[in-house]
């Protein structure tokens, strides 16, 4: 293993993480809800979702965040590494997987671990593991 010191951004990542933690805390303490993005979207796709307006407004805030950012500073780089076929395959897997797994990086990785849920700890280990394995296979075994 070699660490990519050139791209390592410890302070902005820690600060960004703290901001995410603050947002999750606010949503939990104020609204009594888990800031899990796949859960919020998935439940809105089902009929008769309770608290739909709060969920929509949370997602709306998330959606307009880059617009607010753009008023004050240049947006950080967003560099995609995959073509449309990879994006579609990845999107479907993320959609199906997070619904069967009841959560994603935010719901399990941040909120679930913070409330010491054993399910979320297991889920986080699983998606981290398969994420590491997938990149290993695609980059180093197949060399794509």
């Amino acid at each position: 293993m070699t660490v990519d010191w050139f791209n390592f951004t410890p302070w902005s990542s820690l600060a960004g993480g703290a901001l995410i933690g603050l947002a999750a805390s606010l949503f939990a303490i104020g609204n009594g809800r888990i800031a899990g993005i796949s859960g919020l979207i998935g439940s809105l796709l089902q009929r008769g979702s309770e608290g739909a307006s709060e969920k929509v407004l949370f997602l709306l805030g998330l959606l307009v965040a880059p617009l607010l950012w753009g008023v004050f500073a240049a947006l950080p780089l967003i560099e995609f590494q995959s073509g449309w076929l990879g994006l579609i395959l990845a999107g479907v897997l993320v959609g199906v997987g997070t619904r069967y797994g009841s959560g994603c990086t935010s719901g399990h990785g941040v909120c679930g671990i913070s409330r010491l849920s054993p399910r979320s700890m297991v889920a986080t280990v699983c998606f981290m593991f398969s994420g590491f394995m997938t990149v290993f296979v695609l980059r180093h075994l197949l060399g794509g």
């Binding site: 933690g21 303490i29 805030g61 998330l62 994420g131």
Partner: protein, 139 residues
């Protein structure tokens, strides 16, 4: 007030993702590339987020109502099962292919990248597929 707080929380969440580097698929894949040139930054995103959220969420989970008086909607199930493991493994494969997870997928939708729109449509399709399969199972 509930709606206002929900909007502010979403906004802060999005700003945090952008600041942290989570909105950049290349950076996410750099973190997932353990055996290549590994960028550990995103581990610190989780450290920062959990360090801030662990106190408030531990408090919140013991309450029956939120500070604004709405009932707590926290999950109650605690034991892992096969669906959780299988679903999370599939999610990780998708995450490892494109370097995008659901939060950033929303946060980069309006930044003018066609890839963000394709990914979002496919993700919504995947979620609808889950709902359709579940409805069929319960029938």
């Amino acid at each position: 007030m509930l709606k206002f707080i929900a909007f502010i929380a979403g906004l802060l969440f999005g700003l945090g993702l952008l600041l942290a580097g989570m909105a950049n698929p290349r950076k996410v894949l750099g973190f997932l590339d353990l055996t290549g040139a590994w960028d550990p930054s995103l581990a610190l995103v989780m450290v920062g987020a959990i360090a801030v959220a662990i106190g408030p969420l531990t408090w919140a989970r013991r309450q029956s109502r939120s500070l604004l008086g709405s009932p707590m909607q926290f999950p109650t199930k605690r034991e892992p099962d096969r669906r959780l493991v299988g679903g999370s493994l599939l999610f990780g494969i998708g995450w490892g292919i494109a370097g995008v997870c659901p939060g950033p997928a929303v946060a980069i939708l309006l930044t003018g990248h066609w890839q963000a729109i394709v990914f979002m449509l496919a993700m919504l399709g995947g979620m609808l597929l889950f709902t359709a399969l579940e409805n069929r199972r319960s029938r």
